[in-house]
């Protein structure tokens, strides 16, 4: 693995970055989907009447219990069985997004439960509806408290995007394998480069979340983590 081999990776960088962009797109899709569904599932688990709350718990149990690669296959080939054509990209976003929502739901659920009941009572006493109390009093606090745990989930799913390789999405690791097929001496430098790209992305993402955390910090909320 001399300098010469490394030099041969440089011309391939555009292809790798092109692949990485797909990973970032999957990430943005899955984490947004996971956020919306995760918040919903957490709210249902905490506030909805028993049967609905139970369904939400069953949902998170399923998506936390099935291996990600199996979820990818289930979504990609499953839809196909029912005659619904979806792209491998969309299947990846959905499978990984629903999986992430189950983990995110756990983060939000814990945060929701940590908001003192007295504040909800005070909101109701002002004349706010139950939904109003959740929206204006509980959620803004719970989401702030969730940020630390959420940055963990972010780091985790960022790397999970490479699993989309398994259903044929041409993301960065698949690009790497294409390049590698043309010249096997590039194997190690290629994958080291991919590793480096993810290290940078993880750092940048967590830096951004850290900034958000600082901006959203409120005295009295940060100490309860």
């Amino acid at each position: 693995m001399d300098l010469e081999t490394w030099a041969k990776v440089v011309p391939e960088l555009p292809k790798l970055l092109q692949g990485l962009l797909v990973n970032v797109e999957i990430l943005l899709g899955l984490i947004s989907l996971g956020f919306v569904v995760g918040v919903g599932a957490a709210l249902l688990e905490v506030y909805a009447p028993r049967p609905v709350g139970f369904l939400a718990s069953a949902y998170t149990w399923f998506f936390r219990g099935v291996p990600e690669i199996v979820l990818l296959f289930l979504f990609y080939f499953g839809f196909d069985q029912f005659g619904i054509k979806i792209s491998a990209f969309l299947a990846a976003v959905l499978a990984l997004g629903f999986r992430s929502s189950a983990y995110q739901a756990q983060i939000f659920r814990g945060a929701l439960l940590s908001i003192p009941a007295g504040q909800v009572m005070a909101a109701r006493a002002l004349g706010l509806s139950r939904l109003g109390a959740i929206r204006y009093v509980v959620l803004p606090q719970a989401l702030r408290l969730s940020l630390a745990g959420w940055s963990n989930e972010f780091s985790s799913v960022l790397k999970d995007t490479t699993l989309a390789w398994g259903i044929g999405v041409v993301e960065v690791t698949r690009q790497a394998s294409y390049i590698r097929a043309t010249d096997f001496t590039l194997t190690l430098p290629l994958y080291l480069t991919v590793a480096l790209l993810f290290l940078v992305l993880t750092y940048a993402g967590n830096f951004a979340i850290g900034m958000a955390e600082k901006r959203l910090r409120v005295p009295g909320l940060e100490g309860r983590r």
Partner: protein
Amino acid sequence: MPLLRVEDLHKRYGHEEVLKGVSLTLEPGETKVVIGPSGTGKSTLLRCINRLTEPDRGRVWLGDLEVTARGADLNKIRAQIGFVFQDFNLFTHLTALDNVRLGLLKVRRMGRREATERAMAELERVGLKAKASAYPAQLSGGQQQRVSIARALAMDPKLILFDEPTSALDPELIGEVLSVMIELAREGMTMIVVTHEMGFARSVADEIVFMEGGVIVEQGPPEVLFRSPKVPRTGEFLRKISELYGEAG
């Protein structure tokens, strides 16, 4: 017409009957102080009035509006009844100003500018205009309770229910909260105050209500209750509580 009418309220938690038929009326501008040993249903009574706790039996009227009616618009009713909690229950993520403003914006649907002006005026009324941008965690207990009083006042309530408003405070912070409440009583605010502060009860209560075991044992003007209670137990409790909490009145 009385401003508030409570008729035969009952509430049971499991085997324990906390309220065993409580009735009272409140005229506009009246201040009633509810006293009694802990666990005798005073807080439950207040919470049943705006149905933060659902009473098992009995009826409540706010003016000619029945609060306990089936299908009563509870959010609308609660917006007219201020509630001040023992442990303040300020919204942690909001500044003092936003705590006071939330109800105006989201319940009263007031415009932003008007709501801000109103909230600032209420903060000034409790002497905390300078703390408008402070978060609850940056305020002392006494200041937090005054913000929570401003939050209740901003809604223009017909009456305010105070649930042991000074019980969670350090002794040196009680005075600032009591003086705000005394001022309110003098201005003619209608209020029910659950408290052990006998000095406050003596100086501002139109009537003192002594509760024990889920019922009202005796009620009457402070001078009557303090000097010549009809029920011996009332005198006994008043003496004990006065010894314990001092008697500033």
